[in-house]
Amino acid sequence: MANLNIDSVKDRTFDAIVIGSGMSGGMAAKELTDHGLKTLILERGRDVKHIKDYPTTNMYPWEFPHRGVIPMDVQEANPIINRCYAFREDAEHFFVKDHEHPYVQTKPFDWIRGYQVGGKSLMWARQTQRWSDFDFEGPQRDGYAVDWPIRYKDIAPWYSHVEKFAGIAGNRDGIPELPDGEFLPAWPLNDVEQYFSDYVKKNYKNRHVIAARCAHLSKPNQIHLDQGRAQCQERILCQRGCPFGGYFSANSSTIPWALKSGHATLRPFSVVESIIYDENKGKAVGVRVIDSHTKETIDYYSRIVFLNAAALNSNLVLLNSKSNRFPNGLGNDSGILGKYFAFHNYSAHIGAEVEGFTEWTTDGRNPAGGGYIPRFRNVYKQETDFLRGYACGLSAYRFKQHKTEGAGSELKENLVKGDLGPWHVGSHMMGETIPKEINFVALDADKKDEWGVPLLNISVDYDDNDMKMQKDYIDQMTEMFTSAGFKNITPSTNHQAPGLDIHEMGGARMGKDPKTSILNEWNQVHLCKNVFVTDGACMTSTSCQNPSLTYMALTARAVDYVVSEMNKGNV
């Protein structure tokens, strides 16, 4: 028996354990195995194999029983996930249904989750922008949160590193506040988008409308072909999973890459209960897993742990990793774990009609989605009565218009015939929110899930700064649209709860001081040096870029650091 146990422990021992297999966990696994580390990848959901497990990917519209519409009983049973734009008949199997994994909302929060190998990287919107020092220096300059322990120069090479691997399409726009990267060719702006871009350039200082940068292979390099991926075919059915691997997902890229190395073991159906802390050794020694089917508790051991369960669940795992040394959660002497949680402000939209350009249209589809307006407010100096600013999406489009009056043969003809309607232009805001102590997540005192893990209690809300920013977005965009000559300008605000932006961040923020932060400049838990958190939980502030690229760059950087530390015998 003793021998068996020893063998069993040996079988359950790895160099590294990665908790989570999505955007950042996949990158952690890829980087760790590239260094030859024997790595266990834990995923709480099922496996989703590239291509094989994309059941709807090649379906035509008429092959969906409800042509894409989610049946009403499913909608009514799942009000939270039903608010997500991508929760449609073609991708609903990749989203967590409300009842499957409950959580407690002290304040309304739409928690959008994908519990499977690949996580939300399967269904993400694929927009990728770098941060600049205007972002990293924000908290220090404007006096909120804590100072980021890193600057752009620290992360820049790692942006390059992950961009080359993932494949990012974009133009080198030469904008200091949105640094250029290692780009594949961009998808171009259409006529109206280009007109607006030119107009803004001519008439507004330091405002730019650029082609959106996105994680699509416009022109694959050898490294992408080596991953088994091919050129993006402009289907824009990405949320189904792409049989070409045309956009970056952990499923098409980092996870199979890690597995191919022979150094990785992937264990789906593994709910992480906690990270195991050994008081004698003064560090983490492994991870306690509950098999989601058998409910059996299994301990896995490793020299280092990467926590990449996505921002909220990474907070949950740390909070639930209690020991005599850390009664309030791993590394949480300061008591700030779970606090200073933030998100992105997506609360406004603006649309307009555009006269002219009638001779022109587009043909095919644009995976980048159109244009992007980097943050222009409060960049070089504070200029408004609110802190920070917002980026904006920008896209122009026109559709064929059909007469639908009447019934009979004429109607039938009208459904085929039809003239192109006028151009429309639309934009949405993506605002920075200020992390605050009162916006927090915590373990619920009473409720547990079916594996005995406490439910997460979320208490996050907008504030005055967000509402002022929303108004400014509408004022500025209305003014820009008006002066550019757009008509029928229709701004709108929504009352979506935090979370539906799917950019939840913070709770285990990076910082210089263990008293005011959980992680150091290497995403390493200040008080438990062999645990690294490199997903959204690490974010000190949110800025307004789409965050996935930054998580991946931080992950690759942290792996590089820990490998050199291991080689020196420091971890």
């Binding site: 519409v69 734009y85 095919g364 644009n366 064929k400 085929v416």
Partner: protein, 205 residues
């Protein structure tokens, strides 16, 4: 076990949401087993006749040829709230009564001309139907903005019923394989994006 239960169980075995293969369908193509909305076979046929009047067989197939009538029934059964389903049934009953009162006959027994005349009356009271565009809207997270539910004016049952049938008929017809392959060209794999494309070069899509 009655026939309906057998069919339902077969459907579950076949994967729940997947449409029954044609070999398992009832011999007549006017009705489907309904789970929620309460429509008699006669009422189901009435819905089908309205569909066929909206999209009649001409030199190209009509709603029934393309089974759009069955799609409309499926959507009514699966994709409406209970309240709206009840309103629909009330509207359909009202419609049936109205037709019988005016023509002394059921809709099924009217001439094509009379049927069109009936619907023309309803068109006036119903608001215009919009069909979801076949063009793919630009991607990007703007789509996730959700407007607060606007107070919809309470549409009375009869126009509601007609609007629902028309909306779903046009939705089903323009998303049918026939329409998307023979009348327009739906491209699953465009393989291109031309951002600056002359309208005059546009093909039928």
């Amino acid at each position: 076990m009655d026939r309906r239960t057998v069919l339902k169980n077969l459907a579950i075995v076949a994967g729940g949401a997947i449409l029954l293969p044609s070999c398992l369908k009832k011999p007549n193509d006017d009705t489907i087993p309904l789970k929620k909305i309460k429509l008699s076979d006669t009422q189901q046929k009435l819905v089908g006749d309205v569909c066929e009047t909206i999209i009649p067989k001409t030199s190209t197939p009509g709603a029934k040829d393309l089974r759009v009538n069955l799609f409309v029934l499926k959507m009514l059964d699966d994709c409406y709230t209970k309240k709206d389903q009840e309103k629909f049934v009330a509207g359909l009953t009202e419609f049936d009564d109205m037709v019988k009162k005016k023509y002394g006959n059921a809709f099924a027994d009217l001439t094509d001309k009379q049927r069109e005349e009936c619907l023309a009356t309803l068109e006036k009271s119903a608001k215009p139907v919009t069909i979801p565009s076949k063009s793919i809207k630009p991607v990007g997270e703007g789509q996730k903005s959700i407007e607060p539910p606007k107070k919809k004016p309470d549409v009375p049952p009869l126009p509601f019923c007609y609007q629902a049938i028309k909306q779903q008929t046009l939705f089903g017809y323009t998303n049918s394989q026939y329409f998307m392959t023979k009348l327009i060209v739906y491209e699953l794999v465009p393989g291109r994006y031309n951002a600056h494309f002359p309208v005059k070069n546009l093909k039928n899509a």
